[in-house]
């Protein structure tokens, strides 16, 4: 498995897209800090970008890589290599290189602008952790989609759709249901609904740091318990891990059964 991981990883590292992705974050980081000069404000702006862009790139990249390396995968399948290690290795190669581009691309400018001296270090590391999780989750989701669809166009379509759904449409439906059922106690429901969407989950995780004062404005024992204590942080982290593990498990499981 490690060999395949290494191969995929180096393959991607050598490819142009990893560099483009890395450079994009590098420039973004520098520009934000150049314009603001305030690390904590830049963290807020970055959050908005990360929770939208990272899933999108993770999805597109995952699908693209899977379809591109399909012939190579089939070649590998003919060899005496375990299926789970082929797909798992490829997945980790993609997700790993994307995560590395993200962490290095954003990390370098922030460190140069005195991150270690500012009090935003915890917020920033939380941001990177969330970004890494989102990469892992959405790459896994896209691998699942690609595995299920032989047709490239269909696969791409579903991948973009799932991103669009989780990033925008889900929140719209969520909002509508909250407004329609506003006569009922909704605090448990709204927290649960947040848990079922990794993008919302990451957003909540970051809100816990940035907008805690606003979140505590709502009267509700469940909210208070969730946002006011460390429970929120633990729950969100746990759910993110679950969100990562489940698609990967399904990927490995499906790959074993699939008839190539």
């Amino acid at each position: 498995m490690l060999k395949i991981l290494k191969y995929s990883f180096y393959d991607l590292i050598r490819s142009r897209w990893s560099y483009v992705y890395f450079l994009f974050y590098l420039i973004l980081g520098f520009v934000l800090l150049f314009l603001n000069n305030d690390v904590s404000k830049a963290v807020i702006t970055l959050m908005n970008i990360i929770i939208i862009l990272v899933p999108l790139i993770g999805t597109i990249f995952g699908v693209m890589y899977y379809y591109n390396s399909k012939e190579f995968t089939e070649l590998l399948l003919a060899q005496p290599v375990k299926r789970s290690s082929i797909f798992f290795g490829q997945y980790l190669g993609v997700a790993g290189s994307l995560t590395m581009s993200l962490v290095l691309g954003l990390g370098i400018p922030f460190v140069l602008y005195g991150l270690f001296k500012s009090d935003a270090i915890f917020d920033f590391s939380l941001l990177l952790v969330t970004g890494a999780f989102l990469t892992l989750i959405f790459t896994a989701l896209s691998f699942n989609i690609a595995l299920a669809n032989e047709n490239k166009i269909k696969g791409f379509g579903y991948a973009v759709l799932i991103w669009l759904f989780l990033a925008v449409i889900y929140d719209g439906l969520f909002l509508m249901s909250l407004i329609i059922f506003k006569e009922y106690p909704l605090d448990s429901f709204s927290l649960a609904a947040t848990m079922f969407n990794p993008i919302d989950l990451s957003r909540t995780l970051i809100l816990l740091k940035l907008d805690i004062s606003a979140l505590l404005g709502y009267t509700g024992a469940v909210f208070k318990q969730f946002f006011g204590t460390h429970q929120g942080l633990f729950m969100s982290m746990l759910m993110l891990i679950l969100w990562t593990v489940l698609p990967i498990w399904r990927l490995v499981h499906k790959a074993k059964q699939k008839d190539f």
Partner: protein, 412 residues
Amino acid sequence: MFYSERVLVFMLLLWVKCLVGNTIPICANCDIRSIKEGITVASDFDTLLIKKGTYKEYNLLVNKPLTLLGENYPIVDGEDQGEIIRIVSDNVTIDGLFIINVGTSYTTDYAAIRVVESENFVIQNVVLEKLFFGIYLEKSKNGKVYHNKIIGDAIDEYNSGNGIQLWYSKNVEVEKNIVQHVRDGIYLEFSDNITIKNNTSTDNLRYGLHFMFSNDDVYSNNTFENNGAGVAVMFSKRIKMTGNTFKKNWGTAAFGVLLKEINDAEISGNTFEENTIGINIEGSNRIKYINNNFIKNGWAIKVLGACYTNSFSGNNFLYNSFDISYNSKLNDNVFDQNYWSEYTGYDLDKNGIGDVPYRPVKLFSYIVNKTPETIVLLRSLFMDIIDFSEKVSPVFTPDNLLDANPLMKPSK
């Protein structure tokens, strides 16, 4: 001739003596061993010099103009019996005492030091601990409460008292006091022309500062931090709040400042930082908000209704989750030349004022007012999209609520 001269000298001596007074030492080995005894033997304008030691006394009635001066903070222990010092005379000074264990009662407001219908009192350098009410001024005038430290241990609202309470008092200066862990840090009722300066009121159960029906008061350079419900000011006219800091008042009903029925006030140069709501305004008119800083609050300003002719200018709104929340479509308040960190306009003529007006009320804040649970969707992309569309063409938010001259740089 000779005789009358002697009388005159005697009279003069008596007068000087009256004015300056004797010093009566009180300590465990002195002639006078208790403060109560000291007060009884003292004549007007004497000083009771209370030396270091523990005095288990309560219900001390100061009924003549005396100075109670503590040396190295003698402890006056009330043993939870009731009130400790009651001042009923003019010109009394209390200085340098360490008063503990005021009795708790559900029917009487026992205080460590109570001033009743007196003038020209000074209470300074006093330390109060384990108290019910701290310093209680009742129908008193022209006094000074200076540099005291009040540290309570309040747990429940119903059996705790206030740190410094003024009731029907006038012309009092409350300065440089530290109040912590009581119910209301500083409480004023029916008290006019009071100056509250440089105090620190933190970690109180309910309000850091609470006043009602108190007009023409000045509050400046105080710090109110981490109080149960922040600061509440109600039913008062012509007050002035300048240079205060309101910080970290978190909770469902916590405010930096709650203004209710406040008219003709001036609120300037204050800092509101990390509160759930910076200022909550209800039924308050003709207030000038100038040069305040609103930093990282949940809501910088929440306007609930019946607020007319208020003006906001030169304020800095920095990184608040919501800048302004309105619950009606009517607006009679003016926003002009404020700095908004979320302003995205441009300044082509480089005069420091943005060329595009800024709309501080977001659609999302309107939605959160209607359905509070939607707060979990804060900063979601979907919300940004509908906020943007509302910004372009306001439907739900007051369309004349805008800052026509938003500043490009924070005002100093």
